[in-house]
Symmetry: C2
Subunit: 114 residues, 2 copies
């Protein structure tokens, strides 16, 4: 079967009640993954090749999987493109105030370095 | 020189302005380390053997080091005992609201499991 017709397995996404805080903290403890999260806060949905990170595609796929399995992002296929969005509302429902506190802390860190 | 007279190296503690948010998130992304933090929130200072965690001493030493190097805890020697305290004020100064948001999220998770 040609590659283009092979069916890719559906992407797994946990339900909010399945989110594990320790997985979320681990997912956010990496600079590439934090850059992905910051980028998604400014845009509702982005195609996978458009993130301002300088890593190999396989590494980026790994980072997306860690974020997706922790519940931080949602990804969907659309033809040959994969779109990524932040699960802000699900995270807010499950862990109120958490994502804001973390991203605010991260951005205050960056502004001190300027 | 007998072991008891050997001088142990001083414990390194970062200054608040050196805290790295990603190190703090990594330090808190482990269940044993989160239990240490929760235990310290209830007591100003604890001796090292008194934490309700079920891990080998060498593993516990590793967990304390990760927390200490991230700035989450402070440790001091007093004779043969090592005392551990949470650096709540330093963390609050550096990352306002962060530790509370994380521990609250962690405890809401535990209460859902009951």
């Amino acid at each position: 079967m040609p590659r283009s017709q092979r069916r890719r397995p559906a992407l797994a996404h946990p339900e909010p009640e399945e989110f594990d805080l320790l997985d979320v903290l681990h997912a956010l403890s990496d600079p590439t993954r934090m850059t992905i999260v910051q980028t998604l806060r400014a845009a509702p949905e982005r195609a996978c090749g458009t993130f301002p990170v300088d890593v190999a595609p396989s590494t980026l796929t790994h980072h997306f999987r860690v974020l997706r399995e922790a519940g931080v992002i949602r990804q969907r296929e659309d033809g040959n493109r994969r779109w990524t969005a932040l699960r802000s509302e699900d995270l807010e429902t499950r862990f109120p105030g958490l994502l804001d506190a973390i991203v605010t802390a991260y951005e205050s860190r960056l502004s001190r370095r300027r």
